[in-house]
Symmetry: C2
Subunit: 220 residues, 2 copies
């Protein structure tokens, strides 16, 4: 019974996600769904990426949170268009919420759309929003055993950003072992170790992102 309800919800969500995807394609926008645990550094990554792509790509942001506008307020300081979705308790964004946020964004003036999901390593993996790429962050203090415990998220994502590598000297996080396990679950995944605090490693992430941006722009 519960499973049936869940299947109906997921089916309806996928239908709306397809509509969002076509709409984004119509505007030549690359949409990236960003997922992680609470506090892994999604907003910091978005802000660091915006600063580094200034003048190269026009960026828009959708911020998803249960409550508050803390993250949207931070992102707005960069000057890019940003919309906050408050789910009011819901543990993930869905395609309907995303559609409403798209209605409020200047889509003709955006090349790259970041959709920052609710902080949660579980449910966001199951709800497509219409994005082109899924990117997850795993911060080093969370530990290198997380792929075993949250396999869906690690299996479905296109990119894993291993954030807070500046803290590695103070932690027991084994980056090599972590990468091996993630590649075992998801052989095509790209893994970029980064620090949004020091900027280390962001170059490789930006190279990948601008490469994807060119592909979408050519198709659009």
């Amino acid at each position: 019974m519960e499973i049936k309800v869940l299947k109906d919800i997921l089916g309806a969500n996928d239908a709306q996600a397809l509509k969002n995807h076509s709409r984004l394609d119509g505007h030549g926008i690359l949409a990236v769904n960003i997922m992680s645990s609470p506090g892994a550094g999604k907003t910091s990554m978005v802000i660091q990426t915006i600063e580094r792509l200034k003048g190269k790509a026009r960026i828009g942001v959708i911020e998803g949170d249960i409550a508050s506008t803390v993250d949207a307020d931070k992102v707005a300081l960069t000057g890019v268009p940003v919309i906050q979705i408050n789910t009011g308790g819901g543990c993930h964004l869905d395609a309907n919420m995303t559609e409403k946020a798209l209605d409020s964004l200047p889509l003709d003036k955006i090349d790259l759309l970041f959709v920052e999901n609710v902080g949660n390593l579980i449910c966001p993996a199951e709800f497509n929003l219409g994005e082109h790429k899924k990117v997850m962050l795993l911060s080093t203090p969370e530990g290198d055993d997380k792929p075993y415990k949250y396999p869906a998220m690690f299996s479905l994502t296109d990119v894993v950003l291993v954030n807070k590598i500046d803290l590695l000297p103070y932690l027991d996080f084994k980056l090599d072992a972590f990468e091996k396990v993630v590649k075992g679950l998801n052989p095509k995944v790209k893994i970029f170790p980064i620090s949004c605090k020091t900027g280390e490693g962001l170059g490789a992430w930006l190279d990948w992102l601008t490469g994807e941006l060119k592909i979408v722009t050519r198709q659009g």
Copy 2:
């Protein structure tokens, strides 16, 4: 429509939670529901607490995870009885899962039961398991803004353990400001800053826990 389904689920869950609660009381067991983001240190805290209460209280553990037995394997090394629940995708434990785990534990030989919930700051707050106390961990690398973004969890918990205080010198986490915001949401909450790595602060947490244990034992 979706809300009705959720209400039915929560109502049925509360009924089962009451049964679990009575059953635990019948055995004189203090049950503690432990919640946090992935990687905040729930399992480390459980293991450190078990080591320090050896000979003073008989402990049992229920480990909740989407997949794997990583955490149960670690806890089992301490020698206490431990049961792993795999939710198979589900983002929280519920009272029915807890009942099944209780069936497999030697309840007459347990004074203190830790139920380690799935790593998630959102949904576990809504599902009572029949516990006597809710304890959440917030690890310092997650940032001091989390109460604004996950207000339900911080409002409902009896205790906040601020874990990984050994990392404070490398972070921008303001402990005083954090405590003030949490007390604003939840004036009765107990807050204990701890490090499961160095042992700092665990004494105050153990004092609170053994105090609660005496209260339940007297009632049982």
